[in-house]
Amino acid sequence: MSTTNTGLTRAPAGGAGKIHPPGSTGVAQSAIAGYWQRSKLYLVLMGLMLPSIAGLILFTYYPQYGAIKYSFFDWDGSESREEFIGWKNYTDAFTVDPLFWQSFKLVLILLAANVLKMWPSIMAAIVLHRLKSERFQYIYRVLFVVPMIIPGVVSLLVWKSFYDGNTGALNAFLNATGLMSALDWLDRTMAGDGTSVGLVNTGIAKAVRDQFEIFGIHGIWWMIIIGVLLIIARMISGNIKKNRANPIAPYLSGGAALMIIVGLALALVFCTWPTRPMNVFSMGTTPWLGNPNLIIPSVIFWGFPWVGTVGVLIYLAGLQNISIDVYEAAELDGVGSIGKFFQIELPLIMTQVRINLIFMTIGTITDYGFFLLLLGPYGGPGSKGMVPGLYMYSAAFIEQRFGYACALGMILFVILLSITIFYQRYVRVDK
């Protein structure tokens, strides 16, 4: 093979960077040679990346492809039952399966709770960041890292024992402080029969839960749906009026926030709190994970005080990137501690908040291991702890409907992708 024909000539030393008059052969040859030199390097580099890419394709993307493919199959995990059934698994999920959609209610509640549970980590990171002594800051950082080496299962078992009705620390604490009696009182009074005085009486509960039922959906859930619709309207109107003032945007945002917050609060009270007395507090051995009505509150309380080590370290990394000049300028302007938090720190770590928000959302929607270990494959008594991930697991490994489980997985994937795109576009990041 002729090197001249293919242009595979080595460039003369020092020629690669010289400026040649346009159209000269020397220039062209040198450019080609330079390009080849660079290409060779790129080729080698890309070649070195091949094993990783191959691994990624083989172990990450191929199984995903398998999940998409099998979501259109009636597949029991073996080769003997593998039939193409089109969209049947998807239509089943939307029409036949109330439990799958019911599991999203729990996820919605957990998502709302987890958003609130992100705040302690942010606060902890800020407190840590503002520590004057570098030595103590280092010690605290180490203290935050140490729990990371404890396996998740161990922490889960510790918390499980913490909730144990007879020997758990939570009941011991509540009994010792007298809070158990207070809970017992609340249980009896809140579960009023219409005559007793309580935070929630049957009349209000009925009005909200039953009277406002439209198309088979409770009024509370309608509030949340309307809130989400308002957000979508806000997004659309924002896009239409991109470079102009958008007078209705604040109203849409405000309305959405109001609807969602109030809706979730009502849902928490009316849809997770029974109107019948539970009678589980009087004995002092409250079964936090055994009573269907206590499962959701227990799962929400799980991990108190909710200072996640990874989260704190991520926020801390963001905080440490804030220039000292900004603080100095703020101090000159007379901004106080709280002001610094809202006007400097929080806006400048929004990238980290967004990352954690995405991880939290993905974790909340797809998690099943926690619920499986805690409550078993059926989601505990009354399936109150059934989350979509667990439902997907049950469909695959208990019912042997792997194809259907793949379809549920794809639905979850689409939901997650939409939420992630939403976060990316609409969680504001100030640089």
Binding site: V44, G47, E79, S80, F84
Partner: protein, 316 residues
Amino acid sequence: MLVFVLGDGGRVKNLSICLILLSICFASGFAPAQDDLAGARVALAELEWRGAIRRYTAILETAKPGSAEWTEATYGLGISHHHVQPPSSETISAAMRQYQQIIDQASDQRYVARAMMNIGRVHELRDYPEDVVDLTKAREAYEKVVARFPNDPIAGEAVLRAASTLVMAFDEPNYEQVKSGITMLEKWLAAHPDDALASVMWQYIGDAYFRPLADYENALRAYENVDRLGWTDQGNQGPWYWRAAQLAERFLDKPDIAAKYYAKIIMETPNSGKAYESMESLRRLGKPVPSSPLFETVAPSTQPAAGTASTQRSEP
């Protein structure tokens, strides 16, 4: 990261050579050792249908049509296509082609007969989602085997399969097809009482009389014939013993026959779960109760199970 570890281009070249060599080693590891009949038989024995297809196809490239090697390879290729997973219309069509080649060109008649039977199996079973079951075509295929090989042991199997295409048509009004299937088998058995599948046939007849015909007298008669010939699924015949005993005791008032089957449950299938009830039944019928080694394992101090509670205890 590897770039940093390896440094200059020379080492990169070495790495590339290593990778290529590694790939060759890998590829050679997965390549078939030898495409011969022995390898194909191993693949067949391990239900490795894809491996068998590859090997048989390679053999057929050089095998002389009609030779023993060709016959075995074509038949092997046929059943491999028939059963490779996931099945499709293409694989089943390929199997049918190969079976037809055997029927047309093979000299070994054992292969021909089996290929003809397999064509019936293709028609009878639903092989892939869009496949249509055609019991009539299946029956015709089986009947062709009987007509061509009337004195071969395979004829009995073909009759049994042909009869089953009639019997399994449970939905026929008045069960005419079921009855004709039973008649077909009974005629064959009258002429060939020592057929290798005679016991299977009688058991199948008994089952068909029992359900859907609800002809308990004839069902029991058929089961008695099975018992005379010996049960096929040795060790798992307990449920049939129970059915025979129930038919005899509850529906036909034949306590002696019932007692015979109860005793068989105790002695021959004690772990079928029905041995204890069989003992009770024998006592109820006033018949002797045989002993079973299984009941020797029960500690004598424990109380009987029926009616009252019992406990076993130990103090380690």
